[in-house]
């Protein structure tokens, strides 16, 4: 049952990355592709109806993690106290920028919030990348099970490399979404970013994979086939983007991100918080889990609720789908 709980948490986080990933990606590339006030507004409008629901996947994961793995929730959140607070502030800034920009018709007001929107989103991607990087690498844990490192140690070279990969991959994801969802000059400029972002993403992926293998060592099993899927889907992103198959390209980008997250989860399993150096234990899904009754209750309630969310979320998404034309 702890394994199922791990799958639920990893799955919810993966959905969060796929969905809010495009919001963050669109925001990150907006300064590069949208030149006028109207174009920047268009790129915000492209995610307007969705971003809040997407962000809820993160908030809800926080709640579910609390119920399923209270010890991991407590140790990781208090251990990475400052990093967490910075993430919270950035999430708040992104939300404020999204919600308040359109309420006042002034170019200066718009420019300020556009900058906050892009800056906080790009920084969020970097910090999420750093977080995943440290989870893969392992973190120093004291004898009482609480984090014993410092904020500075979290910014190690491996974690920063993962962060760079996250930035490139989500920017590409944002391009795929913006091109699919809008048409106009900004979408055309976004299309021209693909040949730039794609090779960077590929190089970073290979570098991170190599670094992970050298850090964690390698034991051959079926999970090692996943990088083939990753490379194939990343290739598909390029081919379908060049052929202007926009929906397929977005799908391929989603598959590529999902394959990355699957590799990350498989590398960590069965630890929620692996210790550093690798192989020295950590907080695993078994020693951080509550009683079977509590787990079964939380899992049933969560899965039933999420099934409902997927049904009405898909329905609402379809109602709101379609292309926005952003003209000059």
């Amino acid at each position: 049952m702890s394994v199922l709980a791990f799958v639920v948490i990893a799955g919810m986080l993966a959905v969060y990355v796929l969905l809010d990933g495009y919001d963050l990606g669109v925001a990150t590339i907006t300064p590069l592709v949208a030149r006028t006030d109207r174009e920047r507004e268009g790129s915000m409008q492209s995610i307007g109806p969705f971003w809040n629901g997407n962000e809820v996947w993160l908030i809800a994961t926080g709640g579910v993690l609390f119920a399923l793995f209270p010890v991991a929730y407590a140790v990781s959140f208090s251990g990475f106290y400052l990093a967490f607070m910075v993430v919270l502030w950035l999430l708040m800034f992104r939300g404020i920028a999204m919600e308040l920009r359109s309420h006042f018709p002034s170019a200066i007001w718009h420019q300020f919030w556009d900058a906050c929107f892009a800056g906080s989103s790009a920084l969020l991607i970097v910090l999420f990348g750093v977080a995943i990087g440290n989870l893969l690498r392992g973190v120093p844990l004291g004898p009482d099970g609480y984090f014993s490192g410092t904020f500075g140690e979290l910014l190690n070279s491996y974690a920063l490399m993962v962060a760079a990969l996250a930035l490139a991959a989500l920017a590409l994801h944002g391009v795929a979404f913006l091109v699919m969802r809008t048409s106009g000059p900004a979408a055309e400029r976004a299309r021209r970013l693909v040949p730039v972002l794609w090779p960077i993403t590929l190089v970073l992926y290979i570098a991170v994979t190599a670094a992970t293998v050298s850090e964690r060592g390698i034991g051959w099993n079926w999970i090692d086939c996943i990088p083939i899927l990753s490379l194939a889907s990343l290739g598909a992103v390029l081919l379908t983007s060049l052929r202007k198959r926009e929906r397929v390209a977005f799908g391929a980008s989603s598959l590529w991100l999902a394959s990355l997250l699957f590799q990350a989860a498989a590398t960590m399993y069965p630890y929620l918080l692996p210790a550093l150096p690798p192989g020295h234990g950590g907080i695993s899904i078994f020693d951080a889990a509550p009683s079977p009754l509590a787990l079964a209750t939380a899992l049933t309630v969560t899965l039933a609720g999420l099934a409902g969310v997927i049904v009405y979320g898909t329905f609402a998404l379809r109602q709101m789908a379609g292309k926005l034309t952003v003209e000059e």
């Binding site: 809820v56 929730y73 407590a74 006042f104």
Partner: protein
Amino acid sequence: MDVVIADRLQFAFTVMFHYLFPITTIGLAPFVALYTIEAARGDEDAARAAAFWTKIFAINFAVGVVTGIPLEFQFGTNWAVFSAASGAVVGQPLAMEGVYAFFLESIFLGVLLYGKGRVSPGLHAASAVCVWVGSWLSGFFIVATNAWMQHPVGYAIVAGGRIELTSLAAVLFSPFAWWQFVHVVCGALVAGGFVVAGIGAYYLLSKREITLARRFVDAGVIVALVFAVLTVFPTGDRNSANVTQYQPIKLAAMEGLFETQNDAPLAIIGMPDMHAHALIDPIFVPDILSFLAYGNFHANVKGLNAYAAELWPPVEVTYYAYHVMVGLGTIFVAIAVLAGFLLRGGRLFQTPAVLWMLMLGMPFPYIASEAGWVVSEVGRQPWIIYGIMRTSEAVSPTVVNGEVVFTLIGFAGMYFLLGVLFLYLVLREIAVGP
């Protein structure tokens, strides 16, 4: 500053600032939904009303969401020992809030805000209803979480001091939770009623938007009247009964009762003197506290002196917050009854004095709601989980006071900015009008 105090200040500040916005969304959601439904039926005035209140709702919702983000994670960041010990229980309603309420609210708010003209009027109205349901569900789950901390049920303590869930149903259907939830919703509806009536009164006094303004005052006054009464009785009374039964020390602090006595009087006003252990300059109504607490004018009510002082909550804060809440609640009933009579007689729209009262009354239900939570939370001290875990034992072992003070200052700066922006945008929408 002691780290426990810093943690408590931070939680109190972030949660009290946050709660200002859910009061409005819980209280306004039914208005938005009902106006949107009437609009879908072809009522053009209702369509303008719906568009106006949806805008106000959306600004509140946005600030509510943004300030709510830290709360979901603060249990883990600042209260790690509490979270690790009790997550199997309190995590359940919090997870349910995310999965059942937040998605519903945010996905359909997207349809409500961006879907006009894209989706059918029927679906647009249904979205407004989903947002309403979502905002109330969210309120329920968070109150259920709090009610468990006030009166733990459905749990067992196992080896290592961990608190295990034995029954989710017991947690969700705890009578403490239900009366607290209904009381909270009634309080929010009083705020919603006062806001709708107050803004209507503002337009009437400014002699603009007369047709819509009359509808606002009409609807707002009726809602305020019904729910101001329900806030006092039965919901307020039942909450007091729960406190009397399960948290008698909190009751004594709320009432400023130091000496245990038969025929206990109710202090209408008075200032607690923490050295003399008595009220300064009190005005008493004889026997009423005995009656309110136990339904018997001669019942024995235990005072604070009957308990060890280390089990007392901060008496002054609890006492004043309770008196502010009850005093304001009584005034709301009086204003709403007066306005209701005039409305029924058809004279309210021509009575500027009462319209002024409605307009200036808008902030006070917020103060009363916040004061109510202060009674509930400060009155629960020294416990974080009543009778099981002390607040001082619950804080994160790795987080030191310097960090908490730093982030508290960060939150203060951020929320100040947010508060200014919020007021500016809402006042601007009101000035622009429907």
